[in-house]
């Protein structure tokens, strides 16, 4: 599901650090916003916006980190509102609900592990290309379109 490549150029130490942060951003937000699924997306979105004009390597990874949050946003949101409806309305805990929550937890844990792995590898300057998200990022981010500046 993930592939390791050499990037088209050798990213600097500073770029590796920034790119690695884009993944850590979603993890920090995950701890704070566990029950509120939108928090992770907002955190990575702000990082993306702040670095959209950064170097190619930083932009690429900020975009991949942002995209990876999108699919989780949908499945987590559905689980979140389902849980809210069980607590506050007449909806009941059912086997369907529990199965959904188990699957959501499994996807979140998998995403968590892959994100940590990617963050570590990216910090070392290794280009980690996620299945699907890496392809979308490739289609969106082209070299040379940014101004090469990192904001934070």
């Amino acid at each position: 599901m993930i592939s390791l490549y050499r990037f088209s150029y050798e990213p600097s130490e500073h770029e590796c650090e920034k790119a690695s942060y884009s993944y850590l951003m979603s993890l920090i937000a995950l701890v704070i916003g566990m029950p509120i699924p939108i928090i992770n997306l907002i955190a990575t979105f702000f990082f993306y916006v702040a670095n959209r004009n950064g170097t190619y390597f930083v932009r690429w990874h900020a975009t991949q980190a942002l995209l990876s949050q999108l699919s989780l946003l949908f499945i987590n949101s559905y689980g979140f509102w389902w849980t809210v409806s069980i607590i506050f309305t007449s909806a009941q805990v059912s086997n369907n609900y529990l199965a959904y929550i188990v699957v959501v937890l499994a996807f979140n844990i998998a995403e968590f592990v892959v994100t940590i792995y990617t963050s570590i590898k990216t910090r070392k300057g290794i280009h980690v290309h996620w299945w699907l998200y890496g392809d979308i990022t490739n289609a969106m981010i082209k070299p040379g379109s940014g101004n090469g500046k990192d904001i934070f």
């Binding site: 699919s71 499945i75 607590i87 506050f88 309305t89 007449s90 009941q92 805990v93 059912s94 086997n95 369907n96 529990l98 199965a99 959904y100 188990v102 699957v103 499994a106 996807f107 299945w131 699907l132 392809d135 979308i136 289609a139």
Partner: protein, 266 residues
């Protein structure tokens, strides 16, 4: 672009396949959900009832219990509700109030029995509280008001007395969400119709409570059940759509006897 689209479809398919597989497992049994929920509810119900009983004497007079039990039984039997699961308590209290506690404790104050004008009004109130229990509103309200963590702490025996008292007060003297009240009202009408009890007097009772009276300070069922006039209207509208028989559960003499016995207590 085509490659991305197919990968996206594959990801969705993978998620659905895993979800389908997970659905084949009986998580309810595996995680003992039913047992855990009923055990928590049972502990909290007993805790609350014992606390309430300390300050409110339960009536054991059969001349009062039997007529009310006849109405209660008729509603349960005609609606496939397990009567044995519900603990009906009649307590000596001037407050016009009736409420449901966790673990299916149904409490009727003598003040409420004294306030109703006929058996249909009383049946409406009983039906409404049974509906809250059957629709699992009681624990939901408790979790919403005091939080799941406090509920679990109470069941472990580490609950603070003040918190337990406050939670009991919440259940006995504050309203459910408007949508839950409406749901319980509609369910109560269904119960009454199945039991061949006219729901119109229940609506009249709500309407008269909503109009206020000189004994307003005792009318807890109004404050715990707001929008009484509006509720009376939708009960009437809903019951008009139905065809139903009207039969009395109690004879006139039994009803009068019950009222007299309640008045003597006061």
């Amino acid at each position: 672009m085509e490659k991305i689209f197919f990968k996206l479809l594959a990801l969705i398919a993978l998620f659905l396949a895993i979800l389908f597989t997970a659905n084949q497992v009986n998580w309810m049994a595996l995680l003992k959900v039913e047992e855990n929920i009923s055990s928590t509810e049972e502990k909290i119900g007993e805790l609350f009832w014992e606390l309430y009983e300390e300050n409110n004497r339960e009536i054991n007079d059969l001349s009062i219990i039997e007529p009310i039990d006849s109405i209660f039984s008729k509603i349960c039997e005609t609606n496939n509700i397990k009567k044995g699961d519900i603990k009906l308590h009649i307590t000596k209290n001037y407050e016009v109030n009736a409420f449901a506690l966790p673990n299916k404790h149904l409490v009727l104050n003598t003040g409420l029995i004294s306030e109703v004008n006929n058996e249909e009004e009383l049946a409406g109130v009983i039906g409404h509280e049974i509906a809250h229990m059957e629709l699992d509103h009681v624990m939901k309200k408790l979790v919403k008001e005091i939080g799941l963590a406090v509920v679990v702490t109470m069941t472990s025996g580490n609950g603070n007395n003040q918190v337990i008292l406050e939670s009991l007060r919440t259940l006995t003297s504050s309203a459910y969400d408007r949508s839950l009240e409406e749901e319980a009202d509609i369910k109560a009408v269904d119960y009454l119709i199945a039991a061949h009890i006219d729901p119109a007097p229940f609506a009249d009772f709500l309407y008269s409570l909503g109009s206020g009276s000189d004994t307003e300070e005792y009318l807890s069922w109004v404050s715990t059940h707001p929008y009484s006039k509006e509720r009376a209207e939708y009960i009437i509208n809903y019951s008009q759509e139905k065809t139903y028989k009207k039969e009395s559960v109690l004879s006139d003499a039994t009803w009068e006897g019950l009222k007299q016995n309640i008045d003597q207590l006061h």
